[in-house]
């Protein structure tokens, strides 16, 4: 009884540990997926905006389409919004700093371009602007990679948490199975078999008047019951003989 009580408490305790860890795991997984999705979306927005600005600027430089200025400005604002959102999310400060630095260089170059219209040609676009554009897009890609790498690290930590969540339950369950098998075995030896032997002995006595001679080893209620049945059968046989 005591053993089962302990086992019950342990199972409940293990269950609580598992529940706690699984809850933690569930919220962590949700956060992880949300963060990953957000960082992917923001990176995409930044890359799209930069691409948009790049195309607009190419048109302005090569074809002199000044009406594309508004599209350029709109894409620039979209970029700033995405970058601000990324800054508000926790982590990757190093990669975001790199984006800020690359963006500042890029903006400085663009401002220079618009302040001196007509001076910059395709050569400037390919060399000066091209390298700045490449630095900016590379910084955004680095941010994306860093986000995915941190995802991997977090996933490993989640795996460990998942392990910790299920292991107490599994170990306790294994112990419970061993105890249940042992309990069934011991019950069979100490209670079921003696009762079966006593029943068979009594049946033989009642049907065929064979002497009741069942041996039960021990010092418990079953042994006492067996002794009393033996006494009773002896008494009954004596009465029958009289």
């Amino acid at each position: 009884m005591l053993g089962f009580l302990f086992l019950g408490i342990m199972l409940a305790f293990s269950g609580m540990i598992s529940m706690f860890q699984l809850n933690k795991l569930s919220s962590h997984t949700q956060n992880l997926l949300n963060n990953s999705m957000k960082s992917m979306e923001l990176s995409k927005d930044m890359l799209d905006a930069t691409q948009e600005q790049n195309t607009s600027l190419l048109h302005i430089v090569v074809l002199g389409h000044n009406q594309l200025d508004s599209a350029f400005t709109y894409a620039g604002k979209a970029f700033e919004r995405a970058l601000n959102k990324a800054s508000n999310m926790s982590g990757h400060t190093l990669e975001l700093d790199l984006i800020y630095r690359a963006r500042n260089d890029y903006n400085r170059l663009i401002n220079d371009f618009f302040s001196t219209p007509g001076e910059k040609d395709i050569e400037w676009f390919m060399e000066m602007y091209g390298s700045s554009y490449l630095a900016l897009t590379n910084a955004i890609k680095d941010y994306m990679v860093a986000s995915q790498q941190s995802m991997l690290q977090k996933a490993e930590s989640l795996e460990r948490n998942a392990y910790r969540a299920i292991m107490p339950g599994i170990v306790t369950l294994c112990v419970a199975i061993i105890i249940v098998i042992m309990f069934a075995f011991l019950m069979d030896i100490y209670y079921i078999r003696p009762i079966q032997d006593m029943t068979n002995g009594l049946t033989s006595f009642l049907k065929h008047k064979f002497p009741y001679n069942v041996e039960v080893d021990g010092n418990d209620e079953i042994t006492k019951l067996n002794d009393q049945i033996e006494e009773l059968s002896t008494l009954a046989r004596n009465r029958m003989n009289e």
Binding site: L2, G3, F6, L7, M10, F13, S14, I17, R160, Y163, R164, M167, P168, V171, T172, V175, I178, I179, M182, F183, F185, L186, I189, Y190, G218, N219
Partner: protein, 481 residues
């Protein structure tokens, strides 16, 4: 065979194991409740329940027969190894099912091989539990309980007969009841003494105690990834070496020597042979290393060769040097002592020096018999004439031992491991040594091996610890009738 009685005695051993889990939990608690505290407490409760449960039902039995004795000893080893995995599994980290089982069997059988890449990442509570498995396994879980549970009465005799190596029993000149007390006195005495010596040599108390547990049990688990090499201290190495060598001597003889008895270490033929083998092999390896230019001076070569020889011949398995880069002569000599190992009646594993020396004497007697066919030639060991049955069983043991190592090597190499790794892995597991050669050398670990090989090598550890026939008996169905 009464399985219920077997359960009861295994239950007592579970309680002892649980007590050490509780002690480890206390270490974790003392160490600012480190991460191993809850796994150890949960393991303690589960193991204690497993231990108490059969005791509630099964009454004490004053008489147990030989079969029950075997079943208790083998069952106790297997169950101790099983519950020993609980703290590892519950803690997590590098542990999975195969790693936890490997680490537990390696601990209880005092093999000392590890499947962990970073031992230093373990919290103190778990490190202490790891060393405790060595200490418990070293003396034999059953032998402990015989002393702790004085109520066993006549049962004590039967279990002692089963647990002690047959050769070890011959050397004891005491009654069976006293054997257990002698073993425990020497065991605890050596542990305490070594802990103090290592502390004086510069280790902290925790490391000193853990390394003492490992040394006296001839195990090999260390609290550092680089084992004893981490300390780079001649004093620590010398102390460890002396205690390793002492732990490889028959405990009864140590007791007899300390109490001024006649049958002491200096008169023991097998001890002289064991120590002689150690010195000869150690010096030969030193000469070989010096000659090959592995180390710059002869003294440096001697320092590393003597330590590694002691670590392998006593089956401790500590490391101060990378033996995989040593010469072929050094490798073959270390492989020889890996098979032979130390004396019967100690905590070491392997074939044992007694059997090897007895076989050498039997071969000499056989040659003499051929020269003088009518002569009556007796084989004596420590001044006692040995029966043919003792000589035959010693020889049979050696033959079966080598056959098992060969069979194991075939299977391990079949999985893709190279010959040296496969052969030394099986030999080192059978001898409960620890490090081997190839990819399982003194400076490597078993983490890179497949789960199959890890589990497979634990079979050899158990076979070696239970002197082959003990474990085989359990699986022979005819024997159960």
């Amino acid at each position: 065979m009464r399985p219920a009685v077997v359960f009861r005695y295994i239950g007592i051993i579970m309680l002892l194991t649980a007590a050490f889990m509780l002690l480890s939990a206390c270490i974790a608690l003392w160490n600012s409740v480190d991460t191993s505290f809850y796994p150890l407490i949960l393991s303690f409760v589960l193991t204690a329940i497993l231990g108490i449960f059969p005791m509630i039902f099964v009454r004490r039995s004053d008489r147990i027969n030989m079969k029950e004795g075997y079943a208790i000893v083998v069952g106790a080893w297997l169950m101790a190894c099983l519950v020993g995995t609980f703290p590892y599994l519950l803690w997590g980290g590098e542990f999975n099912w195969s790693t936890a089982w490997f680490e537990s069997v390696s601990g209880f059988t005092t093999t000392g091989s590890t499947a962990l890449d970073n031992v230093e990442a373990l919290p103190r509570g778990l490190l202490f539990w790891r060393s405790s498995t060595h200490w418990l396994g070293g003396i034999g879980v059953v032998m402990f309980v015989l002393v702790v549970m004085p109520t066993l009465g006549k049962t004590k005799m039967t279990l002692s007969n089963v647990e002690l190596s047959p050769l070890a029993k011959d050397n004891y000149k005491y009654k069976a009841q006293k054997i257990t007390h002698i073993l425990l006195s020497v065991y605890i005495g050596l542990t305490v003494l070594e802990t103090i010596c290592l502390k004086i040599a510069g280790m902290n108390w925790f490391d000193a105690l853990n390394h003492s547990f490992s040394t006296v049990a001839t195990g090999g688990f260390s609290t550092k990834n680089a084992s004893i090499a981490y300390y780079n201290s001649a004093a620590v190495e010398t102390i460890s070496m002396i205690f390793m060598l002492m732990s490889g001597i028959h405990f009864g003889l140590i007791f007899a020597t300390l109490t001024g008895k006649k049958n002491n270490i200096f008169r023991s033929e097998t001890t002289r042979y064991y120590l002689g083998t150690f010195f000869v092999v150690g010096v030969l390896i030193a000469i070989s290393l010096w000659n090959e230019g592995t180390y710059s001076t002869f003294m440096e070569s001697l320092r590393y060769s003597l330590f590694q020889t002691a670590a392998i011949i006593t089956t401790t398995g500590f490391a101060t040097a990378d033996t995989t880069v040593w010469s072929s002569l050094a490798t073959i000599l270390l492989l020889f002592v890996m098979f032979q190992c130390a004396c019967a009646g100690s905590t070491s594993g392997g074939i044992k020096s007694d059997r090897v020396w007895l076989t050498v004497k039997a071969i000499r007697a056989r040659i003499l018999q051929q020269q003088h066919p009518s002569a009556v030639i007796r084989v004596k060991l420590n001044g006692v004439t040995q029966d043919d049955s003792v000589i035959n069983s010693a020889m049979l043991f050696i033959v079966v031992y080598i056959m098992i190592v060969c069979a194991g090597t075939i299977i391990v190499t079949a999985t893709g491991e190279d010959l040296m790794t496969g052969f030394s892995l099986v030999a080192t597991s059978m001898g409960n040594v620890g490090p081997g050669f190839g990819s399982v050398g003194t400076m490597d670990n078993y983490s890179h091996l497949s789960p199959f090989i890890k589990i497979f090598s634990t079979i050899f550890m158990l076979l070696g610890r239970l002197e082959i026939f003990g474990l085989l008996q359990l699986f022979l169905m005819k024997w159960w009738k």
